[in-house]
Assembly symmetry: C2
Homo-oligomer: 161 residues x 2
């Protein structure tokens, strides 16, 4: 196997592993548990779930796969802190959106060739990409995998000890 192909496989395995662990965690928590704060004065599980959906949703246009599925989640879950306003989104809707956005990404990822993973992402211009070739699609995947790990480390606190 070519090393590039291997590398893409490693990055996808890492992403899928984090998604799988996060999905199992969300599934193990009741709606009431997701309403709890992960630590005193910190975000609730619900807010972090919405935040992760919105950040993953933004990968769709960033990676050139099309339009966001849930553009309405950006304002409450990315641009605003949890304290900004009461949030009316139902947790059941967020659970469905979590699955849908990750399934959508998975189908797009599967259709991407190894070479395409090394193409630029859409927040870098073709001119800048020539000078900064690390600003490719695979780098977005690595970065979002770390982002997911970061918040999963917080969400785990909702599990009873």
């Amino acid at each position: 196997m070519a090393e590039q192909e291997l590398l893409v496989k490693m990055a996808l395995t890492s992403w899928n592993d984090q998604l799988d662990r996060s999905g199992k965690l969300f599934d193990s928590l009741t709606d009431a548990e997701l309403e709890q704060h992960v630590a005193p004065n910190r975000n609730t599980g619900k807010y972090l779930l919405g935040h992760l959906i919105a950040v993953h949703d933004a990968m769709i246009p960033l990676l050139g796969f099309g339009d966001k599925l849930y553009p309405e989640l950006e304002q409450p879950f990315v641009r605003s802190p949890e304290s900004a306003q009461p949030n009316e989104t139902a947790i059941s809707a967020l659970r469905a959106s979590w699955n849908k956005v990750n399934q959508t990404l998975a189908s797009k990822f599967n259709a991407l060739s190894t070479k395409e993973w090394f193409d630029r992402h859409n927040s870098v211009s073709p001119e800048d990409f020539k000078k900064e070739p690390h600003r490719n699609k695979l780098n977005v995947l690595l970065s979002r995998t770390n982002h997911l790990s970061y918040h999963r480390g917080q969400l785990i606190f909702l599990q009873k000890k």
Copy 2:
């Protein structure tokens, strides 16, 4: 730049970015703050600092760089939960070990060629590596970067809001 070389650079940048953020966080916290639990009934900052040092230290033999610097940290900070015993290690000593182990890894990483990053790590046999070529040194780096992100997401709760 060859794509393999680019990929190694991306993975190292991601690791260094997480290390840098974690180091700044540790530097911003007093010893008394590191003695606090990151959330009720969860680990203290001190335990997580010791845990990260021990896990990074174990990368030295795993990646074929030599012997661990702090083998004595494995028992209290990896094999045992925090509740197992009172831990006498001074936080000042842990701060120094954090810097030393990461500097040691950095110097070894800098000396590694792109090709060597795709060699097997030391917990996979040459035979198994032929069948599972993703079990290479670079995969260890990706995995430990996610591990660091996970615990950084918890340590951030020690910062005053």
